[in-house]
């Protein structure tokens, strides 16, 4: 068990493409860090650099205080679970799990003890003598996990391990991975493009885009207080509504003629400055008839069962609202919305950075 430290890690490919543009990160011992971002954001490259499968162009990667830049993958004391499992097709499940231990010269009885233990934890004991092709996707996934835990490494690396599973299994394995990681207490780095996986699994959520870290924090921090417009729209489903607006004096923004109060907007910004105003679809409520609020014209409704998505326009911009089914009677064309001032996020229109009060950020951190 060990902490993982990344210090200004960069990856430049031979063609000059910079896939990772200087990432610094501290993952505490036993922490579960999830790297999330759209495809091509450099998250997998970063993970592969920690694994030693990609060379590090500059910067340092340290595992347990030891800089591992020049150390072979096998010597880094890590285990990796691949997206397509990468099981050896010609070996039995037992041999797949035992292979890494055998290569390290572990005594036979010790190997057997550890393989049996891993198989018991993952409930794959009945399949130990089968070949991987005779297993279902979920079972193969367990074998891949078994291969990782049997080594008792300092760090687990997961490269989109659930992408090849169907939706139901994915939810089930997600929970199991979390339980397993808790039980073993091994530092883990997990790469995914699925923000639900990212939110549910992580203690430390790292949102990446274009080779850079956009935000690091607990899932709640990242959800409650996105530091950039990108994070705001990437984390949360359905994504946050972004409306073009203007600063309208202290603590207020105007969006297409509507004036919204924003708690977190710092004082002293010049009025008329262009901003992007973000509002989460699930944080807005329909105001009772006659109450003051923002008029919202409904175009169409998507029913999700427990909730409904109302698509329409607010202040001249497209807007999505999530409400409990039945909150708006069918056929309604317009409603008034109550938008709480603590739920209004304001981002600089040009840089996409959050316009927020410094003290509220520190207050939350404390």
């Amino acid at each position: 068990m060990a902490e993982v430290t990344l210090n200004d890690v960069r990856k430049v490919y031979a063609g000059g493409v910079e896939a990772v543009k200087g990432v610094s990160l501290d993952i505490p011992d036993g922490g579960f860090c999830v790297l999330v971002g759209p495809s091509g954001c450099g998250k997998s490259t970063l993970l592969r650099m920690v694994a030693g499968l990609e060379t590090i162009s500059s910067g340092q990667v340290a595992i347990g205080g030891r800089v591992v830049n020049e150390i072979e993958p096998a010597e880094r004391d890590i285990a990796m679970v691949f997206q397509n499992y990468a099981l050896y097709p010609h070996m039995s499940v037992y041999d797949n799990i035992a292979y890494g231990l055998r290569n390290r010269g572990t005594p036979k009885d010790e190997i057997d003890r550890r393989v049996q233990e891993a198989a018991r934890i993952l409930a794959i004991e009945p399949f130990l003598q089968r070949k991987p092709r005779a297993l279902s996707g979920g079972q193969r996934q367990r074998v891949a996990m078994g291969r990782a835990i049997v080594r008792k490494p300092q760090v687990f690396l997961f490269d989109e391990p659930l992408s090849n599973l169907d939706a139901k299994l994915r939810v089930q394995m997600r929970v199991e991975i979390k339980k397993l990681q808790r039980a073993l207490g091994v530092t883990s780095i997990y790469v995914t493009h699925d923000q639900v996986e990212a939110m549910t699994l992580s203690d430390k959520l790292v949102v990446m885009s274009g080779g850079q870290v956009e935000q690091v924090g607990t899932p709640t921090e990242v959800y409650r207080r996105p530091e950039t417009r990108f994070v705001a729209t990437f984390i949360g489903s359905p994504p946050m509504n972004i409306l073009p607006g203007l600063v309208d004096g202290d603590g207020r923004v105007s969006v297409g003629g509507l004036t919204l109060a924003a708690d977190d907007l710092p004082a002293g910004l010049e009025p008329g400055r262009h901003v992007d105003v973000g509002v989460r679809p699930e944080e807005v409520e329909v105001a009772p008839a006659g109450a003051p609020g923002a008029p919202f014209a409904i175009d169409f409704v998507e029913e999700l069962g427990a909730t409904e998505l109302l698509h329409g326009t607010l202040g001249g911009s497209p807007f999505v609202l999530q409400v409990n089914t039945g909150a708006v009677s069918p056929g309604t064309k317009a409603v008034t919305l109550a938008i709480p001032s603590r739920c209004v996020h304001v981002f600089d229109a040009e840089t996409g950075k959050r316009l927020g009060r410094a003290e509220s950020a520190t207050a939350r951190a404390a």
Binding site: A74, F82, H90, N103, R147
Partner: protein, 282 residues
């Protein structure tokens, strides 16, 4: 697909297949029949279509004592052919699997050049480079040896290409998983690449064994001693005689014997083929 069985739809394919089998098998049958008569009957001009009474006599003459024109009995010639074909087949597989492994998995200067040089040799079969090859083999003192018979035929671009194509279908993640599991290049080759290639190896072995077995021009050049002759040359020598009657029945018997080892190789390897076809799934 659900298809209604009509007697015609069963009959026609079978008729075509049976016709094909007859066309291929008829000459073999004629050779077998020919090997069971005496010289006089065949020299008559009309080949009988049913086996004759001299079967045992002909084969025992061929196997035990040889005949008037090629004094060597068939046994040593079969052995020579077998050794040559085995060295060629195994040598080709050994060389091409490691060169393909190098080309696919290692990054070294001039890797592409090395690959294309191998590729270009496809255009230079034995017949084209026969003079320089003969010169080299002669200078090395390898005339009339198994080495001289087999080594110049071992280098194979075809097999290298086949292995390369196969290796490229092995997912990169397997290489990476092996690296993390602490397997170096040799272990990865031994534990993963080789077991996965076994069906390709079997296919190549069959093809190359038959290629080696059927060699004619090169053994003809390189062997002068009769005890180094291969079976293919032996058959040829039986047919061309200056003043005696060609002993067709013995030539046919030799030809039938010469067919047996490749047939055995195909039959034995076919099991592996089928197993590979049924099981291979990555």
């Amino acid at each position: 697909m659900v298809e209604r069985k009509h007697w015609f739809s069963t009959l026609l394919p079978h008729a075509i297949l049976i016709l094909g089998v007859l066309i291929v098998a008829f000459p073999v049958y004629v050779a077998f029949v020919g090997s069971s008569w005496d010289a006089g009957t065949i020299a008559n001009g009309t080949m009988p279509m049913t086996p004759g009474p001299y079967l045992v006599e002909n084969y025992s003459r061929v196997i035990l004592s040889g005949n008037a024109t090629a004094r060597e009995p068939v046994g040593p010639m079969l052995f020579n052919s077998f050794v040559m074909a085995m060295i060629i087949a195994l040598g080709k597989i050994a060389i091409s699997i490691i060169s393909a492994y190098a080309v696919v998995y290692f990054r070294f200067p001039l890797r592409k050049t090395a690959f294309w040089l191998i590729f270009i040799t496809l255009m230079l079969p034995v017949e084209v480079r026969i003079y320089p090859t003969y010169k080299i083999v002669a200078d090395l003192g390898l005339l009339d040896t198994y080495g001289g018979l087999a080594i110049p035929l071992i280098a194979s671009a075809t097999a290298t290409l086949l292995f390369r194509q196969f290796f490229m279908t092995i997912p990169d993640e397997l290489v990476e998983a092996s690296k993390i599991d602490g397997a170096g290049p040799w272990k990865f080759f031994k534990d993963t690449v080789l077991p996965l290639s076994i069906t390709t190896v079997a296919a190549l072995f069959v093809i190359q064994f038959i290629y080696g077995w059927n060699q004619y021009l090169w053994p003809l050049l390189i062997t002068t001693r009769e005890d180094m002759q291969t079976i293919v040359i032996g058959i040829k020598k039986m047919l061309v005689t200056q003043d005696a009657l060609t002993e067709w029945q013995l030539a046919m018997a030799t030809a039938v014997l010469a067919m047996l080892p490749p047939v055995v190789v195909v039959l034995v390897m076919q099991k592996l083929f089928v197993r590979g076809l049924v099981e291979t799934e990555k």
